[in-house]
Symmetry: C2
Subunit: 218 residues, 2 copies
Protein backbone atom coordinates (compact mmCIF):
# COMPACT_ATOMS: atom_id res chain seq x y z
CA UNK A 1 0.00 0.00 0.00
CA UNK A 2 1.69 3.18 -1.22
CA UNK A 3 0.25 6.34 0.32
CA UNK A 4 1.08 9.87 -0.81
CA UNK A 5 0.20 12.64 1.65
CA UNK A 6 0.29 16.07 0.04
CA UNK A 7 1.74 18.89 2.13
CA UNK A 8 1.69 22.65 1.58
CA UNK A 9 2.46 25.75 3.60
CA UNK A 10 -0.32 26.67 5.99
CA UNK A 11 -1.54 23.08 6.45
CA UNK A 12 -3.25 21.75 9.59
CA UNK A 13 -0.82 19.19 11.00
CA UNK A 14 -3.33 16.68 12.36
CA UNK A 15 -5.15 16.49 9.00
CA UNK A 16 -1.98 14.94 7.61
CA UNK A 17 -0.57 13.17 10.67
CA UNK A 18 -3.76 11.36 11.69
CA UNK A 19 -3.97 9.37 8.42
CA UNK A 20 -0.18 9.03 8.36
CA UNK A 21 -0.13 7.32 11.76
CA UNK A 22 -2.85 4.87 10.71
CA UNK A 23 -1.31 4.00 7.35
CA UNK A 24 2.23 3.79 8.74
CA UNK A 25 1.07 1.08 11.16
CA UNK A 26 -0.13 -1.18 8.34
CA UNK A 27 2.26 -4.04 7.61
CA UNK A 28 4.23 -3.38 4.43
CA UNK A 29 2.88 0.10 3.83
CA UNK A 30 4.93 2.96 2.45
CA UNK A 31 3.86 6.50 3.31
CA UNK A 32 5.40 9.51 1.54
CA UNK A 33 5.07 13.17 2.48
CA UNK A 34 5.04 15.03 -0.82
CA UNK A 35 5.00 18.75 -1.63
CA UNK A 36 5.69 21.06 -4.55
CA UNK A 37 9.16 21.51 -3.14
CA UNK A 38 10.75 19.28 -0.55
CA UNK A 39 11.80 20.65 2.79
CA UNK A 40 10.10 22.30 5.72
CA UNK A 41 6.37 23.03 5.52
CA UNK A 42 4.90 25.80 7.67
CA UNK A 43 1.93 24.89 9.87
CA UNK A 44 -1.20 27.05 9.97
CA UNK A 45 -0.55 27.83 13.63
CA UNK A 46 2.82 29.37 12.67
CA UNK A 47 4.18 27.37 15.61
CA UNK A 48 6.01 24.58 13.86
CA UNK A 49 6.75 22.63 10.71
CA UNK A 50 6.19 19.36 8.96
CA UNK A 51 8.68 18.06 6.40
CA UNK A 52 8.15 17.01 2.80
CA UNK A 53 10.59 14.25 1.89
CA UNK A 54 9.53 14.16 -1.76
CA UNK A 55 8.76 16.78 -4.40
CA UNK A 56 5.82 16.40 -6.79
CA UNK A 57 8.20 15.41 -9.60
CA UNK A 58 9.48 12.46 -7.56
CA UNK A 59 6.08 10.88 -6.92
CA UNK A 60 4.09 9.97 -10.02
CA UNK A 61 1.62 7.41 -8.64
CA UNK A 62 0.03 6.21 -5.40
CA UNK A 63 -2.50 3.66 -4.21
CA UNK A 64 -3.94 6.26 -1.84
CA UNK A 65 -3.68 10.03 -2.19
CA UNK A 66 -4.45 12.13 0.91
CA UNK A 67 -5.04 15.87 0.53
CA UNK A 68 -5.16 17.40 4.02
CA UNK A 69 -6.90 20.66 4.86
CA UNK A 70 -6.05 23.85 6.67
CA UNK A 71 -7.56 26.90 8.31
CA UNK A 72 -9.15 29.47 6.02
CA UNK A 73 -7.86 31.13 3.89
CA UNK A 74 -4.74 28.98 3.50
CA UNK A 75 -6.35 26.62 0.96
CA UNK A 76 -6.53 29.46 -1.54
CA UNK A 77 -2.84 29.10 -2.39
CA UNK A 78 -2.91 25.41 -3.43
CA UNK A 79 -6.36 25.95 -5.03
CA UNK A 80 -4.81 28.56 -7.32
CA UNK A 81 -1.57 26.76 -8.06
CA UNK A 82 -1.54 24.98 -11.43
CA UNK A 83 1.35 22.68 -10.52
CA UNK A 84 -0.48 21.49 -7.42
CA UNK A 85 -3.76 20.89 -9.22
CA UNK A 86 -2.02 19.13 -12.13
CA UNK A 87 -0.16 16.86 -9.73
CA UNK A 88 -3.37 15.96 -7.91
CA UNK A 89 -5.06 15.10 -11.22
CA UNK A 90 -2.02 13.09 -12.34
CA UNK A 91 -1.89 11.05 -9.13
CA UNK A 92 -5.69 10.62 -9.13
CA UNK A 93 -5.37 8.81 -12.48
CA UNK A 94 -3.23 6.16 -10.73
CA UNK A 95 -4.99 5.78 -7.37
CA UNK A 96 -7.27 3.18 -5.90
CA UNK A 97 -8.48 5.85 -3.48
CA UNK A 98 -8.30 9.63 -3.73
CA UNK A 99 -9.03 11.21 -0.37
CA UNK A 100 -9.17 14.45 1.54
CA UNK A 101 -9.43 15.56 5.15
CA UNK A 102 -11.24 18.72 6.28
CA UNK A 103 -10.92 21.59 3.78
CA UNK A 104 -8.69 19.40 1.63
CA UNK A 105 -11.94 18.69 -0.26
CA UNK A 106 -11.92 22.30 -1.44
CA UNK A 107 -8.54 21.62 -3.06
CA UNK A 108 -9.87 18.40 -4.66
CA UNK A 109 -12.77 20.51 -5.96
CA UNK A 110 -10.39 23.05 -7.43
CA UNK A 111 -8.63 20.19 -9.21
CA UNK A 112 -11.97 19.34 -10.82
CA UNK A 113 -12.47 16.03 -9.05
CA UNK A 114 -15.64 16.73 -7.07
CA UNK A 115 -18.06 18.17 -9.62
CA UNK A 116 -21.43 16.56 -8.84
CA UNK A 117 -19.77 14.29 -6.29
CA UNK A 118 -21.06 13.76 -2.74
CA UNK A 119 -18.35 15.01 -0.39
CA UNK A 120 -17.72 16.48 3.02
CA UNK A 121 -15.39 19.06 4.53
CA UNK A 122 -14.97 20.96 7.77
CA UNK A 123 -18.49 21.80 9.02
CA UNK A 124 -17.82 25.52 8.51
CA UNK A 125 -16.96 25.10 4.81
CA UNK A 126 -20.10 23.47 3.39
CA UNK A 127 -21.25 26.60 1.53
CA UNK A 128 -17.87 26.98 -0.10
CA UNK A 129 -17.77 23.28 -1.00
CA UNK A 130 -21.21 23.65 -2.59
CA UNK A 131 -20.17 26.73 -4.56
CA UNK A 132 -17.34 24.67 -6.05
CA UNK A 133 -19.76 22.12 -7.50
CA UNK A 134 -19.63 19.28 -4.98
CA UNK A 135 -22.67 17.92 -3.14
CA UNK A 136 -22.01 18.62 0.55
CA UNK A 137 -22.93 15.56 2.59
CA UNK A 138 -23.08 15.72 6.36
CA UNK A 139 -21.34 12.47 7.30
CA UNK A 140 -17.98 11.93 8.93
CA UNK A 141 -16.60 9.90 6.03
CA UNK A 142 -18.20 10.15 2.58
CA UNK A 143 -17.41 7.74 -0.25
CA UNK A 144 -18.47 8.06 -3.85
CA UNK A 145 -16.66 5.71 -6.18
CA UNK A 146 -12.98 5.91 -5.33
CA UNK A 147 -13.23 9.39 -3.83
CA UNK A 148 -13.39 9.46 -0.04
CA UNK A 149 -13.66 12.73 1.83
CA UNK A 150 -13.55 13.20 5.60
CA UNK A 151 -14.96 15.93 7.84
CA UNK A 152 -12.84 18.29 9.96
CA UNK A 153 -9.26 17.66 11.14
CA UNK A 154 -9.52 14.62 13.46
CA UNK A 155 -11.85 12.72 11.10
CA UNK A 156 -8.86 11.70 9.00
CA UNK A 157 -8.12 9.04 11.62
CA UNK A 158 -11.55 7.46 11.18
CA UNK A 159 -11.30 7.70 7.39
CA UNK A 160 -7.89 6.05 7.30
CA UNK A 161 -9.06 3.17 9.52
CA UNK A 162 -11.98 2.66 7.14
CA UNK A 163 -9.64 2.62 4.14
CA UNK A 164 -7.37 0.10 5.85
CA UNK A 165 -10.39 -2.15 6.39
CA UNK A 166 -11.31 -1.90 2.71
CA UNK A 167 -7.76 -2.40 1.46
CA UNK A 168 -6.23 -4.79 4.01
CA UNK A 169 -9.21 -6.29 5.80
CA UNK A 170 -11.05 -5.74 9.06
CA UNK A 171 -8.50 -7.55 11.20
CA UNK A 172 -5.70 -5.25 10.04
CA UNK A 173 -7.85 -2.19 10.73
CA UNK A 174 -8.67 -3.50 14.21
CA UNK A 175 -4.99 -4.20 14.87
CA UNK A 176 -4.02 -0.67 13.85
CA UNK A 177 -6.78 0.78 16.05
CA UNK A 178 -5.37 -1.23 18.96
CA UNK A 179 -1.76 -0.18 18.28
CA UNK A 180 -2.90 3.45 18.35
CA UNK A 181 -5.12 2.69 21.37
CA UNK A 182 -7.83 4.61 19.56
CA UNK A 183 -10.60 4.21 22.10
CA UNK A 184 -11.63 7.86 22.11
CA UNK A 185 -12.97 9.47 25.29
CA UNK A 186 -13.21 13.21 24.81
CA UNK A 187 -14.15 14.96 28.06
CA UNK A 188 -17.14 16.64 26.38
CA UNK A 189 -19.54 15.81 23.56
CA UNK A 190 -18.90 18.94 21.54
CA UNK A 191 -17.28 17.62 18.36
CA UNK A 192 -19.93 18.62 15.84
CA UNK A 193 -22.14 21.69 15.34
CA UNK A 194 -25.18 19.57 16.25
CA UNK A 195 -23.71 18.75 19.64
CA UNK A 196 -21.69 21.80 20.67
CA UNK A 197 -23.33 24.69 22.58
CA UNK A 198 -24.99 27.05 20.07
CA UNK A 199 -23.02 30.15 21.18
CA UNK A 200 -19.74 28.28 20.68
CA UNK A 201 -20.82 27.19 17.20
CA UNK A 202 -21.87 30.70 16.19
CA UNK A 203 -18.73 32.33 17.55
CA UNK A 204 -16.47 29.92 15.66
CA UNK A 205 -18.54 30.15 12.48
CA UNK A 206 -18.19 33.92 12.52
CA UNK A 207 -14.46 33.77 13.21
CA UNK A 208 -13.83 31.27 10.41
CA UNK A 209 -16.00 33.23 7.95
CA UNK A 210 -13.94 36.35 8.68
CA UNK A 211 -10.71 34.41 8.06
CA UNK A 212 -12.14 33.06 4.79
CA UNK A 213 -12.43 36.60 3.41
CA UNK A 214 -8.73 37.25 3.91
CA UNK A 215 -5.83 36.62 1.57
CA UNK A 216 -3.33 33.92 2.49
CA UNK A 217 -0.35 35.26 4.44
CA UNK A 218 2.32 32.59 4.76
CA UNK B 1 -0.46 28.98 28.08
CA UNK B 2 3.10 27.99 27.14
CA UNK B 3 3.41 24.36 26.06
CA UNK B 4 6.71 22.56 25.49
CA UNK B 5 6.48 19.32 23.49
CA UNK B 6 9.64 17.25 23.75
CA UNK B 7 10.80 15.53 20.57
CA UNK B 8 13.47 12.86 20.04
CA UNK B 9 14.50 10.52 17.25
CA UNK B 10 12.25 7.49 16.95
CA UNK B 11 9.15 9.28 18.29
CA UNK B 12 5.56 8.39 17.36
CA UNK B 13 4.28 11.43 15.47
CA UNK B 14 0.67 11.38 16.64
CA UNK B 15 1.74 11.26 20.31
CA UNK B 16 3.17 14.73 19.80
CA UNK B 17 0.86 16.13 17.10
CA UNK B 18 -2.42 15.23 18.79
CA UNK B 19 -1.75 17.41 21.85
CA UNK B 20 -0.09 20.03 19.65
CA UNK B 21 -3.22 20.45 17.53
CA UNK B 22 -5.41 20.85 20.63
CA UNK B 23 -3.13 23.32 22.41
CA UNK B 24 -2.40 25.30 19.23
CA UNK B 25 -6.15 25.97 18.86
CA UNK B 26 -6.39 27.63 22.28
CA UNK B 27 -6.56 31.42 22.09
CA UNK B 28 -3.23 32.97 23.06
CA UNK B 29 -1.35 29.70 23.46
CA UNK B 30 2.27 29.21 22.48
CA UNK B 31 3.42 25.70 21.58
CA UNK B 32 7.12 24.89 21.17
CA UNK B 33 8.65 21.73 19.73
CA UNK B 34 11.83 21.19 21.73
CA UNK B 35 14.62 18.62 21.39
CA UNK B 36 18.18 18.09 22.55
CA UNK B 37 19.27 19.55 19.24
CA UNK B 38 17.06 21.52 16.91
CA UNK B 39 16.36 20.31 13.43
CA UNK B 40 14.76 17.28 11.86
CA UNK B 41 13.52 14.47 14.13
CA UNK B 42 13.21 10.95 12.71
CA UNK B 43 9.84 9.21 13.15
CA UNK B 44 9.60 5.64 14.44
CA UNK B 45 8.14 4.52 11.11
CA UNK B 46 11.33 5.71 9.36
CA UNK B 47 8.94 7.28 6.85
CA UNK B 48 9.17 10.93 7.76
CA UNK B 49 10.26 13.65 10.13
CA UNK B 50 9.04 16.18 12.62
CA UNK B 51 11.01 19.35 13.33
CA UNK B 52 12.33 20.74 16.60
CA UNK B 53 12.35 24.52 16.49
CA UNK B 54 14.05 24.87 19.88
CA UNK B 55 16.91 23.14 21.64
CA UNK B 56 16.75 22.21 25.33
CA UNK B 57 19.01 25.14 26.21
CA UNK B 58 16.54 27.60 24.65
CA UNK B 59 13.53 26.50 26.69
CA UNK B 60 13.89 26.73 30.45
CA UNK B 61 10.26 26.73 31.59
CA UNK B 62 6.74 25.79 30.49
CA UNK B 63 3.20 25.81 31.82
CA UNK B 64 2.65 22.38 30.28
CA UNK B 65 5.33 19.84 29.41
CA UNK B 66 4.36 17.01 27.04
CA UNK B 67 6.64 13.97 26.72
CA UNK B 68 5.38 11.86 23.80
CA UNK B 69 6.04 8.15 23.41
CA UNK B 70 7.32 5.85 20.70
CA UNK B 71 7.47 2.23 19.64
CA UNK B 72 9.71 -0.07 21.65
CA UNK B 73 12.67 0.04 22.02
CA UNK B 74 13.09 3.69 20.95
CA UNK B 75 12.40 5.08 24.42
CA UNK B 76 15.63 3.52 25.68
CA UNK B 77 17.71 6.29 24.11
CA UNK B 78 16.02 9.25 25.89
CA UNK B 79 15.68 7.12 29.06
CA UNK B 80 19.46 6.75 29.14
CA UNK B 81 20.38 10.28 28.16
CA UNK B 82 21.36 12.49 31.11
CA UNK B 83 20.77 15.75 29.24
CA UNK B 84 17.24 14.69 28.35
CA UNK B 85 16.37 13.56 31.88
CA UNK B 86 17.93 16.70 33.42
CA UNK B 87 15.94 18.91 31.06
CA UNK B 88 12.70 17.12 31.93
CA UNK B 89 13.40 17.57 35.66
CA UNK B 90 14.30 21.23 35.13
CA UNK B 91 11.12 21.98 33.20
CA UNK B 92 9.02 19.96 35.65
CA UNK B 93 10.12 22.36 38.41
CA UNK B 94 8.44 25.17 36.47
CA UNK B 95 5.26 23.51 35.16
CA UNK B 96 1.64 23.64 36.16
CA UNK B 97 1.22 20.28 34.40
CA UNK B 98 3.81 17.66 33.52
CA UNK B 99 2.36 15.17 31.06
CA UNK B 100 3.12 12.19 28.88
CA UNK B 101 1.46 10.28 26.07
CA UNK B 102 1.86 6.53 25.53
CA UNK B 103 5.34 5.24 26.45
CA UNK B 104 6.38 8.80 27.25
CA UNK B 105 5.53 7.81 30.82
CA UNK B 106 8.52 5.45 30.77
CA UNK B 107 10.72 8.46 30.07
CA UNK B 108 9.06 10.44 32.88
CA UNK B 109 9.76 7.41 35.11
CA UNK B 110 13.41 7.38 34.08
CA UNK B 111 13.57 11.06 35.06
CA UNK B 112 12.43 10.03 38.54
CA UNK B 113 9.03 11.72 38.38
CA UNK B 114 6.71 8.71 38.68
CA UNK B 115 8.01 6.80 41.71
CA UNK B 116 4.91 5.71 43.61
CA UNK B 117 2.72 7.75 41.27
CA UNK B 118 -0.42 6.43 39.56
CA UNK B 119 0.21 6.56 35.83
CA UNK B 120 -0.66 4.99 32.51
CA UNK B 121 1.14 4.14 29.30
CA UNK B 122 0.52 2.18 26.12
CA UNK B 123 -1.43 -0.95 27.16
CA UNK B 124 1.50 -3.16 26.17
CA UNK B 125 3.96 -1.37 28.50
CA UNK B 126 2.29 -1.75 31.89
CA UNK B 127 4.82 -4.30 33.19
CA UNK B 128 7.71 -2.06 32.22
CA UNK B 129 6.01 0.97 33.78
CA UNK B 130 5.55 -1.01 37.00
CA UNK B 131 9.18 -2.14 37.02
CA UNK B 132 10.19 1.53 36.92
CA UNK B 133 8.33 2.28 40.15
CA UNK B 134 5.08 3.79 38.94
CA UNK B 135 1.63 2.44 39.80
CA UNK B 136 0.10 1.39 36.45
CA UNK B 137 -3.50 2.55 36.27
CA UNK B 138 -5.80 1.38 33.53
CA UNK B 139 -7.54 4.61 32.60
CA UNK B 140 -7.26 6.67 29.45
CA UNK B 141 -6.07 9.79 31.28
CA UNK B 142 -4.55 9.51 34.77
CA UNK B 143 -3.92 12.51 37.00
CA UNK B 144 -2.00 12.54 40.25
CA UNK B 145 -1.15 16.00 41.48
CA UNK B 146 0.22 17.93 38.54
CA UNK B 147 1.33 14.82 36.68
CA UNK B 148 -1.04 13.69 33.95
CA UNK B 149 -0.30 10.61 31.86
CA UNK B 150 -2.27 9.34 28.88
CA UNK B 151 -2.64 5.87 27.37
CA UNK B 152 -1.45 4.91 23.87
CA UNK B 153 -0.84 7.29 20.96
CA UNK B 154 -4.29 8.77 20.18
CA UNK B 155 -5.14 9.35 23.85
CA UNK B 156 -3.03 12.50 23.85
CA UNK B 157 -5.93 14.26 22.12
CA UNK B 158 -8.31 13.40 24.98
CA UNK B 159 -5.70 14.37 27.57
CA UNK B 160 -5.01 17.72 25.97
CA UNK B 161 -8.73 18.56 25.77
CA UNK B 162 -9.01 17.74 29.48
CA UNK B 163 -6.04 19.99 30.28
CA UNK B 164 -7.56 22.82 28.25
CA UNK B 165 -10.75 22.48 30.28
CA UNK B 166 -8.77 22.68 33.54
CA UNK B 167 -6.60 25.57 32.40
CA UNK B 168 -8.92 27.63 30.20
CA UNK B 169 -12.39 26.44 31.08
CA UNK B 170 -14.95 24.05 29.65
CA UNK B 171 -16.15 26.42 26.93
CA UNK B 172 -12.64 26.75 25.50
CA UNK B 173 -12.23 22.96 25.52
CA UNK B 174 -15.58 22.54 23.78
CA UNK B 175 -14.63 25.17 21.18
CA UNK B 176 -11.35 23.41 20.45
CA UNK B 177 -13.14 20.07 20.14
CA UNK B 178 -15.51 21.67 17.61
CA UNK B 179 -12.67 23.31 15.63
CA UNK B 180 -11.02 19.89 15.35
CA UNK B 181 -14.44 18.30 14.65
CA UNK B 182 -13.45 15.67 17.18
CA UNK B 183 -16.61 13.58 17.10
CA UNK B 184 -14.85 10.25 16.77
CA UNK B 185 -16.46 7.40 14.83
CA UNK B 186 -13.94 4.61 14.37
CA UNK B 187 -15.32 1.90 12.08
CA UNK B 188 -14.69 -0.77 14.74
CA UNK B 189 -14.63 -0.93 18.54
CA UNK B 190 -11.13 -2.32 18.84
CA UNK B 191 -9.21 0.47 20.55
CA UNK B 192 -8.31 -1.26 23.80
CA UNK B 193 -7.17 -4.77 24.73
CA UNK B 194 -10.51 -5.33 26.47
CA UNK B 195 -12.41 -4.67 23.26
CA UNK B 196 -10.16 -5.94 20.46
CA UNK B 197 -10.35 -9.58 19.31
CA UNK B 198 -8.15 -11.72 21.60
CA UNK B 199 -5.96 -13.10 18.75
CA UNK B 200 -5.21 -9.53 17.59
CA UNK B 201 -4.26 -8.50 21.13
CA UNK B 202 -1.97 -11.50 21.62
CA UNK B 203 -0.27 -11.11 18.26
CA UNK B 204 0.49 -7.44 18.89
CA UNK B 205 1.58 -8.06 22.46
CA UNK B 206 4.06 -10.67 21.26
CA UNK B 207 5.37 -8.42 18.49
CA UNK B 208 5.84 -5.45 20.82
CA UNK B 209 7.53 -7.60 23.49
CA UNK B 210 10.01 -8.82 20.88
CA UNK B 211 10.76 -5.23 19.84
CA UNK B 212 11.24 -4.28 23.50
CA UNK B 213 14.17 -6.72 23.79
CA UNK B 214 16.04 -5.02 20.97
CA UNK B 215 18.49 -2.14 21.07
CA UNK B 216 17.46 1.17 19.53
CA UNK B 217 18.52 1.51 15.90
CA UNK B 218 17.94 5.05 14.68
Amino acid sequence: MEVAIMLYNGITALDALGPYEVFAAVTGSKVKFVAKDKGLIKLDSKMGYLHADYSFSEVTSADILVVPGCRPPNYKTPMNDKNTLNWIRQIHETTKWTTSVCTGSLILSAAGLLHGVKATSHWSSFDLLHSLGAIPTDERVVRQGKIVTAAGVSSGIDMALQLVAWESGEDMSKAVQLILEYDPMPPFDSGSPKKAPAPVVEQLRGMLQELEKQDPDL
